[in-house]
Symmetry: C2
Subunit: 333 residues, 2 copies
């Protein structure tokens, strides 16, 4: 099933959305918010699934679903942990700044603790106060978990995945070096991320959800131009089960934990850094990566970061070219 | 007024506690949880204040307040950002490992994004799976904010402080070097922190809350022995207004954001590192700091990290030797 939160109050109003994203049915009589549903999933999910069947069969009155009326499925969450599971991306970024990447990065997941007190809706503007901060998009896959006990195995972690979606993890690149130099990770350089209009249960994804990964072409367009077409199921060094188990090593994770994959990134077919789509490559899921490749190949970054008025579009289509999770489409304000 | 959350479900049940922490009145008819109260503070706070006056005047039926029945006032929160405002502590830790501290650390606040999906109650055990992780306590001051808009000034930030409390920010010291070496901050090395039984509104703290700081002796005992007696109002380089404004530079902060001071730390009266209480000093608010001082003075750390069965006690007394926020008293399990 597909779930969304219509904009309403701080936590939105839970609705079940039709598979084609055209209609919705209010689910507030089952659970007022998605967080409430996740808090009591075993009891609530069967009722939501029954409602989803009614939606599919047109067995109840439906309302038209408008993606711009959707908040982030969890407009605020208790936990947002973002991985860097596409190690190819990490290696490129390091290579561009002349920093060696430890071999352990291929075996030990890299994650950062993100801020979860506010997520943007899929069509919300990116509120950028200063273009000098170097605003970038990062197209990623996210999953939402139920409760995960401390010390959970990869298999237990995977079994706790409740929902899958997409995110634009907004990053302020020019604030990152200063923050990382202080040694304590990101804060100012990672403002609110945007979430896809709907999150989808793994069972509704069929063969696209396997081995703890989402498979399919992640479409990223900048200002209407094709920018990224990487496959989210390729070159993902750490699957979500491994990422979640890593996160739960020393503490439990609460229901509604959002875990990110990090920027999706594919190697070129020749094994080197990805080429632009205009040169027959799969392109990039963030501007930093194309700048990195430009730096490696030509000695300097050429693609600018986002400016006021620029648009970012992130989606993943099904076989019939319908967006599975709806479309993230944001303008920088 | 003093607010607590009795253990109940995921978010506790909001109660107003008497100034001496002996009694409480249920506040669920005003707001079911502390987060609900913070979400609608301007409307809810006057009703809670009226209830607090009734509690003070013994004008309504009261129940006996037991600190061990209290969850963390926010058993889970949407944002937990922890500063390192006592730069003396940061400098000592760096000095012990032979790392220079940049001068900017005296002007630019150091913060990390913490995980907020689960906080321990004040008497909950510390669930330590492996003593080799190097479990440490960190006694800190915390504040809870209302909504803070992006770009808030220090004064606006201070005006958004709703509640003040104490925390034991549990840290796994032996996991920190590996995580910091990866460059993305803490995750596994910062498991769930514990919160004081009650949080207190700034107006109820009188002169102890001034200049954006909590003033008073922070009592830290380890296994029944006096360990720390630093004054939280002394040597705090960045007050809470400055910390919150730093956090809000690139994004807004949601109501219920918890902001930590970092480990409270006072210089010795001679300007050098603090001395143990047994030598007439003010002692330490975490084990890492005494180990640091031992390393600087004697070439090697002697005080061990926490083992199973060890107890940590953190409190701050008022003039009549009554704990203002109740007592954090945890055993390592």
């Amino acid at each position: 099933m597909k779930l969304a939160s219509l904009k309403s109050g701080r936590d939105g109003r839970l609705v079940v959305v039709s598979d084609d994203l055209a209609y919705y049915a209010d689910a507030a009589h089952i659970a007022p918010t998605l967080q409430a549903a996740l808090d009591d999933w075993d009891r609530v999910a069967p009722s939501l699934q029954a409602l989803a069947i009614d939606v599919r069969n047109d067995a109840i009155p439906l309302e038209r679903f408008h993606e711009h009326a959707a908040a982030a499925p969890l407009p605020r969450a208790y936990q947002w942990a973002d991985g860097s599971a596409y190690v190819n991306h990490v290696q490129l970024v390091r290579q561009a700044r002349g920093a060696e990447m430890p071999d352990s990065f291929w075996h030990d997941p890299l994650v950062y603790q993100g801020g979860s007190d506010g997520f943007l809706g899929a069509r919300d503007a990116i509120p950028l106060a200063d273009e000098a901060w170097g605003c970038d998009c990062e197209a990623e896959v996210v999953v939402v978990t139920g409760d995960v006990p401390q010390g959970a195995s990869r298999e237990e972690a995977l079994a706790a995945v409740r929902l899958v979606g997409l995110t634009n993890d907004v990053s302020l690149r020019n604030l990152i070096p200063g923050e990382l130099a202080k040694g304590f990770g990101f804060f100012q350089s990672k403002p609110a991320s945007a979430m896809s209009p709907v999150f989808v249960t793994p069972d509704a994804l069929g063969d696209r959800w396997r081995d703890g990964k989402l498979h399919g072409c992640l479409t990223v367009d900048l200002n209407g131009q094709a920018f990224g077409r990487a496959d989210a199921g390729v070159d993902m060094t750490f699957d979500f089960g491994t990422l979640i188990a890593h996160l739960a090593k020393t503490r439990s994770l609460g229901a509604g934990t959002i875990v990110g994959s990090g920027t999706v990134s594919n190697r070129d077919s020749d094994g080197g850094p990805g080429k632009p789509i205009s040169e027959g490559g799969l392109g990039y899921s963030c501007i930093a990566e194309v700048r990195t490749v430009e730096t490696i190949l030509r000695g300097k970054a050429e693609t600018p970061f986002l400016k006021s008025g620029d648009t970012v579009r992130i989606t993943m289509d099904d076989e019939r070219h319908h967006p599975i999770f709806g479309v993230i489409e944001q303008t920088v304000a």
